[in-house]
Assembly symmetry: C2
Homo-oligomer: 243 residues x 2
Amino acid sequence: MKKIFVIGIGPGEESYMTPAAKEAILASDVVIGYKTYIDLIPHLVENKKVIDSGMKKEIERCNLALDLAEEGSTVSLVSSGDPGIYGMAGAMLEVKGQRDSTVIIEVIPGVTAVSAAAAVLGAPLMHDFTVISLSDLLTDWEVIKKRLHLAAEGDFVIALYNPKSKGRVTQIEEARDILLKYRKKETPVGIVRNAKREGEAHMITTLDEMLQHPIDMLTVVIIGNSNTFIQGNKIITPRGYAL
Amino acid sequence: MKKIFVIGIGPGEESYMTPAAKEAILASDVVIGYKTYIDLIPHLVENKKVIDSGMKKEIERCNLALDLAEEGSTVSLVSSGDPGIYGMAGAMLEVKGQRDSTVIIEVIPGVTAVSAAAAVLGAPLMHDFTVISLSDLLTDWEVIKKRLHLAAEGDFVIALYNPKSKGRVTQIEEARDILLKYRKKETPVGIVRNAKREGEAHMITTLDEMLQHPIDMLTVVIIGNSNTFIQGNKIITPRGYAL
């Protein structure tokens, strides 16, 4: 059966990779993914063709996966987190559609970055939340700003993906300015880098002071709602239970 | 060390339970959780005290876990999905704070319901999204309605948790009415019951026709944004790549 697994391995360490992800890799002839991740699982890729996707663009990678599957290989397209959240699942299905292919695409979900970051911070996501990417490479910045306004007005807990990169530094500043129109400057903010993998670091701060801490592309930023509070070294958004 | 693990086992089957979750259970003296889930992992709970939390309320369960940990036991509080998303992590930390306890609480994230449901449907979450619970047991319905309006206006993909229960049937109807003020009736909607576990069933439909299909508490409903489309038997929200 011609098949591509689009696999999320979670934060990046084997302890958060699901057995389903492992089994799919073991069932594959070819594994495409970043060397950093593949290097963590050498015992799973023995005797397989491994293609380091480090330098490949997303659509190229999907076309390559489809070429190989059409030739009869079972292919794993491996990435971190959950491939269904800003991940490779969409591009892979779009490429399949564009090429009118009959290859079967199976998405294997993983522990996504917002779950990993929340676990490090305590319990910030106990209530309705939004996930917003601040990357304006593929999305108009005006659309992102509108979403920040509406999410803030709705008192959603807000998780920001791709908050800042080397060449993109003002978006997180503008995002904070927007949020301060709706929320108190004491609003708890959690900043987590490399959540639940090697090099994990986190900071619990406030909307007022968040920009004093390092933020980059490996960071998820979580902004509390109007009920979120800091307890010791944790952030908690109450669900509303009577204690 | 007095410790409580708040563990998410993912959708419910062992293939989506992380090794970190298993290791935490194995390291525990007491495991508290629904019998349905514990029964799936008999080899992990041999020689352990197992407490079926089926009949216990959330806060009671947290107090019990804390009592046992204070007495010196390492305790696992086990639930499905991710305990950090509408789960037990918040209540457990709140109870710890209320009792001014020094017990260490560690949250072990899992594959959350929205990731599992999205994987079944294809790739609906490729862009900014919101997660909203329609349960008004702990949240004022007016707050939930306001959030639905704002999320719809912001063109977020919208995932609805707890869309309907036996005693709560009108919320999903009202939610649909609100969304129809902002989105076309052809907007793709995915309905997934028991995502990535036994009894999985799903339906791909539209905002117009979604109420003709069964929806209950085991269901997650995902409503596309203005760019979401149906391709074959999958829902795709394009990320914006040029193919």
